[in-house]
């Protein structure tokens, strides 16, 4: 399984490292948005490669919805400690407490959308001028439109109809005060590229990505992990099964996959054969046709 895509992965890696170094050189207050998911873990690995033997010149920032898989938080803390990176955590709960965010109600309630407000507040509070994200263009149709260096105005908004031209590998990160950039070093990677890279580079992941027993329930064709704060409809019932996470985010909107894959090789074969996209199990994208575009305009990741 190894070596199949080495040449191609080498090119994607060199591109991502180049982008990371441009960020380091062009901006002042830099954070790497860290969710504990595989894409952000790969970003941290790439950042280590880009700046070794120096430390990563970015703080890791986690926007915590409070609805996490426990293991992700421990993984996050350990990783930050191991690489000597500063960890900044901002809580959606705090935004709710001070009235910046009104909590969604009902069975489909999620704090996913609310993260944007917490994030934009943090960006303002800490005078952050660039936030590196693990977004990939293959994930979703609005993301497919995004530049590597994506400009945000002083309201944190994305203007997809009027993006800066981005020529060759010359990135223009100039901005006025109060504006910021989102930068996506792994824009050109596919889900399969990420997994193959994790295998080649032997990158450690949370156990949630491998098969484990979990209490789940089915909603609109997506299996969701059960947690005490989730509301069930009368027709839904909780049962235990062998599952793994294909993406990791807020529990309320992260679908799980029935799987017995124990190794990276098995996961890769499974993904290579799948007929549903990675975000097909993301409840947050199913809300409307332009759900992602709308959230991104508001300042989402």
């Amino acid at each position: 399984m190894k070596n199949i895509n080495d040449e191609h992965l080498k090119e994607l890696e060199a591109e991502a490292i180049f982008v990371m170094r441009e960020v380091a050189a062009q901006f002042e207050n830099k954070v790497l948005l860290f969710s504990g998911g595989k894409d952000s873990i790969v970003l941290v690995h790439l950042a280590r490669k880009a700046f070794w033997p120096a430390r990563i010149p970015f703080s890791l920032m986690h926007i915590d919805t409070g609805h996490n898989f426990e293991e992700t938080l421990k993984f996050r803390d350990d990783l930050a400690k191991e690489f000597g990176a500063e960890l900044l955590v901002r809580y959606v709960q705090d935004s709710i407490n001070i009235g910046r965010v009104v909590e969604e109600q009902g069975v489909n309630a999620s704090r996913n959308k609310a993260q944007s407000i917490t994030l934009l507040d943090a960006i303002e509070e800490l005078k952050i001028d660039v936030a590196i994200g693990g977004g990939r263009r293959d994930e979703e149709k609005a993301r497919a439109k995004e530049r590597f260096f994506s400009h945000r105005n002083e309201f944190g908004q994305w203007d997809p109809k009027n993006q800066r031209p981005e020529l060759w590998n010359i990135f223009n990160g100039r901005k006025h005060s109060g504006e910021h950039f989102r930068v996506f070093p792994i824009s050109n990677w596919t889900e399969l590229d990420v997994w193959q890279y994790i295998l080649n580079e032997n990158i450690k992941l949370p156990e949630l990505y491998y098969t484990h027993k979990r209490k789940i329930f089915s909603r609109n064709g997506v299996y969701l992990a059960w947690a005490p704060f989730m509301q069930l409809k009368p027709s839904e019932h909780v049962f235990e099964s062998d599952v793994r996470c294909r993406t990791i985010g807020d529990i309320t909107c992260t679908g799980v996959t029935l799987s017995k894959a124990e190794s990276l090789e098995e996961i890769i074969s499974e993904i290579a054969a799948t007929r549903v996209t990675e975000r097909g199990g993301r409840y947050d994208d199913k809300r409307s046709e332009a759900a992602m575009e709308d959230r991104k305009k508001e300042g989402y990741f």
């Binding site: 490669k49 046709e289 332009a290």
Partner: protein, 422 residues
């Protein structure tokens, strides 16, 4: 001039689509993905639902790449959409670009990183102004391989004569623009003829299908492997006990091959040193070739900062304050002769003044216009600039990386033009 065109059967092919409005670019991509079974179930469900809402009669495959709400509503492409797919033969990155004149800058964005361009032509209309414009831009960007897809063959009864006539017109254009490698395929993106599967309606066509061609085409990469060029992006200073004296110059090799022990000259200081090591995450490399992102450390302590360049001592680039270049202007506000802009070339930045517009390109005739030299949005021109300090560069033909630059308006911070050094 073909400095570095070694054919290579790349495992990763980046291509861009271009052509006039409604020539079916997005439909071709949709068809390619659909027939090669690269569309996932949830994406399929999405475009079926979306098509219903928009009142489309047939399955509209363009909805797959037109990802913005405004694009789906208007049925046009506004900005580049990137798509990824793989066959056992190759991996592909597709930049699906807009056809409208007003979005030319987005077309250029998509084309600037491509190895190959696919240009669509409506068989009913033949070669249009936008066909010429996009073919010209592709050649200007040094894209050496172009596939011309004569689309909508279903609407002209799959006529071989029509195809041949259009082909003759394009060949004239190709010859004029000195395009190295061109291919011609009659297709119907809507019905799939000659996209992935051979068409039963065009037995007269004996060439490859579109998919087969992009899987097998040999690409001469625009990668310079001869002239050592290493633009410094940033300096790595760990300040730790273990690496107390380490000073690494981080960058991506823009040309040639670098090895430990090589003598290099640092620009602009012209000081010389030897490469001590090439590092990536604790591993010392025996060489770094064009395209590799590495950190280089030198034997001597020299003052080097971002924007400087390491080059081979006996093969320096041009060092000058006067630059002649072709530009593509992107901004609504016209370019000003005598105007001041910021240029970024690799990691280097400098101020510049536009000294003269030598000519403007007339896209219709492909002739140089010496009369009307006003440069407006989407115009292409040959200009001369003077920079605020000496900069180092090669011609774009020699090296796409050290020969390209962007212009930035310091007032608005917008990228207002792309420049290719002659």
């Amino acid at each position: 001039m073909k400095i570095n065109g070694k054919p290579e059967n790349k495992s990763l092919l980046r291509f861009t689509t271009a052509g006039s409005v409604d020539d079916g670019k997005s439909t071709l991509i949709g068809r390619l993905l659909y027939d090669s079974k690269s569309i996932f179930e949830d994406q399929m469900e999405h475009i079926v639902q979306s098509g219903k809402r928009l009142g489309r009669q047939d399955l509209d495959l363009s909805l797959l790449t037109d990802g913005l709400r405004a694009e789906r509503e208007q049925g046009i492409t506004i900005d580049v959409a990137y798509r990824y797919f793989a066959t056992p033969a190759r991996k592909f990155i597709i930049a699906d670009t807009p056809g409208h004149l007003q979005y030319t800058r987005n077309m250029v964005t998509g084309a600037s990183t491509a190895d190959l361009a696919v240009i669509l032509i409506d068989a009913r209309k033949g070669v249009l102004e936008q066909t010429v414009r996009h073919t010209y831009i592709a050649s200007l960007l040094d894209i050496r391989h172009i596939i011309f897809c004569i689309n909508k063959m279903d609407m002209i009864n799959y006529s071989e004569t029509v195809f041949r006539n259009i082909r003759v017109d394009i060949e004239r254009l190709v010859k004029k623009l000195e395009i190295e490698d061109s291919h011609y395929i009659p297709i119907s993106a809507k019905y799939g003829d000659n996209v992935v599967d051979y068409s039963e309606n065009m037995n007269w066509y004996t060439g490859k299908t579109f998919l087969n061609l992009i899987e097998t085409i040999e690409i001469s990469k625009n990668k310079n492997t001869d002239n050592q060029r290493f633009p410094v992006q940033t300096i790595i200073r760990p300040h730790t006990e273990e690496f107390h004296d380490y000073r690494g110059y981080a960058g991506r090799v823009a040309g040639g091959v670098f090895r430990p022990g090589d003598e290099v000259t640092v620009l602009p200081s012209l000081r010389k040193s030897k490469i001590k090591s090439i590092d990536v995450l604790g591993k010392e490399l025996s060489e770094a070739i064009a395209g590799d992102s590495v950190a280089i450390s030198l034997e001597d302590q020299i003052d080097i900062s971002r924007g400087d360049m390491l080059v081979s001592t006996d093969d320096l680039p041009v060092i000058s304050q006067d630059i002649n270049l072709m530009i593509c202007w992107f901004n609504e506000r016209p370019m000003k002769i005598g105007g001041r802009y910021l240029i970024r070339i690799n990691s280097n930045e400098a101020g510049c003044i536009v000294k003269s517009v030598n000519y403007r390109m007339n896209i219709n005739t492909l002739e140089n216009d010496f009369e009307n030299r006003a440069i407006n949005m989407n115009d292409i021109a040959y200009i001369t600039i003077k920079t605020s300090k000496p900069v180092f560069f090669d011609s774009y033909k020699k090296n796409n990386i050290t020969g390209s630059m962007i212009f930035i308006d310091e007032g608005t911070n917008e990228t207002v033009a792309a420049g290719m050094i002659i």
